[in-house]
């Protein structure tokens, strides 16, 4: 496995295990390398659209479906809490973890709370809807806005 893939897997495993974004030091500790090497890998993974970094160029903002910052889209699974980047990613977290979960979100217009149980076969019956303003071709132009 090449180094960048090791870094990517380490990032995702850290999110899955802790619900939080790993620092370059965290990943370096897991892989036995320097944080500078991890930082360079973060930059390359960003160019591959696998992660999104904060303005400091080193802190992970998103490793979809996981969010490194608090959002209105929260997921509880196996006693651990996660933040998702958006409504889509809120369902993406149980899909990535292959675990049952409960999604907590809200109506984008009214703030009415949404609680959605996700079992091994998918979400419970629900007539809530998902709406995306930005066309697919422009999602990565400004991923935070998307």
């Amino acid at each position: 496995m090449d180094f960048d893939t090791q870094v990517k897997i380490s990032v995702y495993r850290h999110f899955a295990d802790t619900g939080e974004a790993p620092s370059t030091v965290d990943v370096a500790g897991r892989l036995g390398c320097t944080s500078s090497e991890v930082s360079d890998a973060f930059t390359r993974l960003r160019l591959q659209r696998l992660i999104l970094l904060q303005e400091d160029g080193a802190t992970i903002r998103m490793a979809p479906p996981f969010s490194g910052v608090p959002t209105p889209h929260r997921v509880e699974s196996a006693g651990r809490w996660y933040f998702a980047n958006c409504a889509w990613d809120a369902l993406g977290i149980p899909a990535a973890l292959h675990q049952t979960a409960v999604v907590y979100s809200e109506c984008g217009q009214t703030g009415e709370p949404l609680r959605l149980e996700v079992g091994s076969a998918g979400p419970e019956a629900s007539n809530w809807l998902f709406h995306c303003l930005v066309p697919a071709a422009q999602w990565w132009v400004d991923l935070v806005f998307t």
Partner: protein
């Protein structure tokens, strides 16, 4: 990318922002998107789907509108 309680709430949200409503996605469709995108995300071999794969995923669950085309030059509006 937000959840809404109903189509009426989507219309209100769009109206307040002066934008046309986009194609709506049901929760079962969204779950299919989530699994297609993320079910292998923690695997070493995982990668983002390419443009043709993305089109195929959307088409498979009934989302064929140009809005979902990852390489569309422009999006004309709801259809």
């Amino acid at each position: 990318m937000l959840f809404f309680r109903s189509e009426e709430r989507v219309s209100e949200w769009c109206g307040e922002r002066g934008v046309d409503p986009r194609p709506l996605v049901t929760v079962p469709q969204l779950w299919q998107l989530a699994t297609a995108w993320y079910s292998s995300r923690l695997d070493a071999t995982a990668r983002r789907p390419g443009p043709d794969e993305i089109r195929a995923i959307f088409a498979r669950i009934g989302l064929a509108d140009p809005f979902w085309d990852p390489q569309a030059d422009s999006f004309a509006g709801p259809s």
